[in-house]
């Protein structure tokens, strides 16, 4: 379940095109399989990506697809120790591959696991060695191993990470008895990173699906919104205004932000459709931004009521119908049926 992406992002397009942003914007993407999110493309040449994945084939593919000089893909897992570990590759769904062996579940999960040994590196080690620079944005999606990544990245985060997007969940486990989300949130709050947005899906339990079928009803689709919130994507950000106006809320004062970091923070807010916070930040830090940015113009660009377009429901609905009714989708129906049959046969064997 993706966080919102504000494709219009007028401020971001302006500051990158007009050379207002004078530093590169560094994205560290842990679990980069499939590539970094398209919203970073709006940063143009300012973007520097360091992507990590334990799956060597995913990295090789990304290297083939992205020949640009500012894109770096590394075939390591990130963790809390520099070591070699067993990794469980899920051939049925490679994005669900994990450092953890999947156990029995109350949910129907398709699995075909193969174990392999992978290299694990701490992001802090890579930072100290100069392999990665100071990061502005850290994205983590590593199927339950997120806390290990964060524990190995305390120096990197402390050096100036402005926002973290991470996959999480509200479950508890023997290793995270306070819960996955609470553990992550507690760690990031120490760096002044607060929850700014979240998106989640719901997954119905397998017994419910079986009972529906027993009643002659179709299984509930994952899109129907039945079940507890399952997987979360959470955006944690520095809150420049609260850090200034309510400094006593922070147990330790977060590192002060430079004008470039303020601009980057505003970019992050805007790209995630949080334009109201972006406007508020420009409004609050007018004095420090003025030497770099035409503040009036910035507010004009950011004051976009369509930043999380309220008419999206109809626009999105139209697009879904358009895609589903297209010739392309209809003529490939037999191929999808064949794929489903093949998957059923493979999972039963």
């Amino acid at each position: 379940m993706d966080l919102y992406f504000n494709e219009a992002a007028k401020f971001t397009r302006w500051v990158t095109a007009a050379g207002v942003l004078q530093e590169p914007f560094v994205l560290v993407d842990v679990g980069v399989q499939g590539g970094e999110h398209q919203h970073w493309n709006l940063l143009g040449d300012h973007l520097v990506v360091h992507g990590f994945d334990a799956l060597e084939e995913a990295i090789m593919q990304l290297r083939r697809q992205n020949w640009r000089a500012n894109r770096h893909y590394h075939a390591f897992a990130a963790g809390k120790a520099d070591e070699e570990r067993t990794f469980y590759f899920n051939a049925a769904n490679p994005t669900a591959s994990s450092m953890y062996r999947q156990g029995p579940s109350r949910f129907d999960v398709q699995r075909r696991e193969q174990t392999r040994k992978v290299q694990v590196r701490r992001l802090d080690t890579l930072f100290a060695e100069g392999l990665i620079p100071r990061a502005d944005f850290l994205k983590i999606d590593v199927e339950g191993f997120e806390m290990d990544v964060l524990l190995g990245a305390q120096e990197l985060i402390g050096a100036g990470v402005l926002a973290v997007e991470t996959e999480s969940n509200f479950g508890i486990s023997a290793s995270l008895r306070t819960g996955h989300f609470s553990a992550i949130s507690d760690t990031l709050v120490d760096h002044g990173l607060l929850v700014f947005d979240l998106a989640f899906n719901r997954v119905p339990r397998a017994s419910f699906q079986r009972a529906l079928v027993a009643k002659g009803l179709p299984e509930a689709s994952i899109h129907e919104g039945i079940g507890k919130p399952s997987t979360l994507n959470v955006l944690f950000c520095r809150d420049a205004i609260q850090e200034t106006d309510e400094a006593d809320s922070y147990p330790t004062p977060p590192r002060p932000l430079s004008p470039d970091q303020l601009i980057k923070l505003i970019i992050i807010y805007e790209l995630h459709g949080l334009n109201d916070i972006a406007v508020d930040t420009v409004d609050r830090f007018t004095t420090s931004l003025t030497p770099r940015v035409d503040v009036v113009r910035a507010i004009e660009l950011l004051a976009d009521p369509a930043c999380r377009n309220e008419s999206l429901d109809t626009a999105l609905g139209r697009r879904v119908r358009e895609l589903e009714q297209s010739t392309s989708w209809r003529i490939t129906k037999p191929l999808r049926a064949l794929k489903r049959a093949w998957q059923k046969i493979s999972s039963s064997t």
Binding site: D2, F170, I172, S173, A174, R177, T178, G179, S182, S185, D186, V189, L194, V195, F196, D197, A199, R202, R205, S207, F208, A211, L212, A214, K215, A220, H223, E224, G225, I226, G227, P229, E246, D248, S249, Y250, L274, D276, V279, D280, E300, L302, A303, P305, R308, E310, L312, D313, L316, R319, V320, L323, E324, T327, S328, I331, T332, L335, R336, K339
Partner: protein
């Protein structure tokens, strides 16, 4: 405020309450009861024992009048906190539901006009010990930031067998909540084996954004719940009986055992909050134990209800976004790209001709 889902169909709850399959009262304690008891509890009919608390005496007087003759509904004009005593309370006449133990101000939204008054404060544990309230099955807390104090004064009550908690919360930090309000409340809930089960939230755009739009004569529908950072959350914490039985090592201390009535009550809570799949899973997992009391197959048939929750607007939007992304990334879509390119080319040449 985005309320948690309410499944008004609730066929299982209606069945167990009308057929006498639930043999105990279902006790609800509602702290911050302004506006009255949630309609979801009406389905419990005579099984319900309701105790509502609010610091605003006139709110309680009105609720007593409205509920006259309902002997199982009790309303008390106390604030609930961590210590018995008296405290200053700030009434917000413009929006009484935003009245609080804390003085507003300093926040980015415009501070409201407030009236201070002294109110009596009682610990829920004191009220339990004094017999004013019974052992509670469900605790609801909505007290505008004073939640931590309510829970600190309710450790005995929580320990005595609370099966679920609905609470207002947020992800802000403050000197009172340095790890965030949510983290503090979740930790207390977890101490009593109550796990996160569901959430609803609203979004409120900041005042400076609204002013910037107003300068351009753009009026924002702030009730649309689309713009701004998630602000206030309603969260449901609940005992997860299946997880407790199957993953004991997830818990720092062993959860107290539950009897058949408590198991049924947990299923009722889940069903009323639209989590029928979880309720059904409990029925299946504890079929043997429940079988002595009720027809488990019938319970499962009632709970297997695909309309147990209506998708909310935000969920619908994200569902559509996800669907588009899935379609556009699918092999079907990618392998037919040359066909679409060819079609575009034909169209262009037709137009040119």
């Amino acid at each position: 405020m985005e309320d948690l889902s309410f499944n008004s169909r609730a066929p299982f709850t209606r069945w167990v309450t009308t057929k006498g399959l639930l043999r105990e009262a279902f006790s609800v304690v509602d702290v911050g009861v302004q506006g009255g008891a949630s309609v979801r509890w009406d389905l419990l009919d005579d099984h319900l024992v309701f105790h509502g608390f609010d610091a605003i005496a006139e709110v309680i007087d009105e609720l007593k009048q409205q509920n006259a003759g309902r002997t199982n509904r009790h309303f008390h004009a106390f604030a609930i906190g961590a210590a018995d005593g008296e405290r200053e309370f700030y009434v917000n006449p413009a929006n009484p539901t935003a009245s609080s133990m804390f003085r507003q101000g300093g926040n980015r939204p415009d501070p409201a006009t407030e009236q201070a008054r002294m109110v009596p404060v009682r610990r829920l544990d004191s009220l339990l010990a004094a017999g004013v309230i019974p052992r509670c099955d469900f605790l609801k807390v909505d007290v505008e930031g004073f939640e931590k104090d309510v829970y600190r004064g309710a450790r005995e009550l929580l320990q005595a067998g609370v099966l679920a908690v609905e609470t207002e919360t947020n992800f802000s930090i403050s000197p009172e909540y340095p790890k965030s309000h949510f983290a503090t409340i979740a930790e207390i809930a977890l101490d009593h084996h109550l796990l996160f089960f569901d959430l609803g939230f609203n979004r409120i755009p900041r005042a400076s954004f609204q002013r910037a739009l107003a300068r351009r004569n753009v009026k924002l529908d702030t009730g649309s719940n689309m713009l701004g950072r998630p602000t206030t959350f309603n969260v449901l914490f609940c005992r997860d009986l299946v997880d407790e039985a199957d993953h004991k090592d997830n818990y720092a201390t062993p959860p107290p055992p539950v009897n058949v009535d408590q198991t049924i009550k947990t299923m009722i809570v889940c069903e009323l909050y639209g989590l029928s799949d979880v309720a059904l899973d409990v029925a299946e997992r504890f079929a043997e134990k429940l079988g002595h009391r009720l027809d488990v197959d019938h319970a499962i048939a009632l709970l297997a209800d695909p309309q147990c929750r209506a998708p909310d607007q935000i969920f619908e939007l994200t569902r559509l976004q996800r669907r588009i992304s899935d379609l556009e990334r699918s092999t079907s879509w990618r392998v037919t790209a040359p066909l679409r390119a060819f079609k575009r080319l034909l169209r262009r040449s037709d137009n040119g001709a």
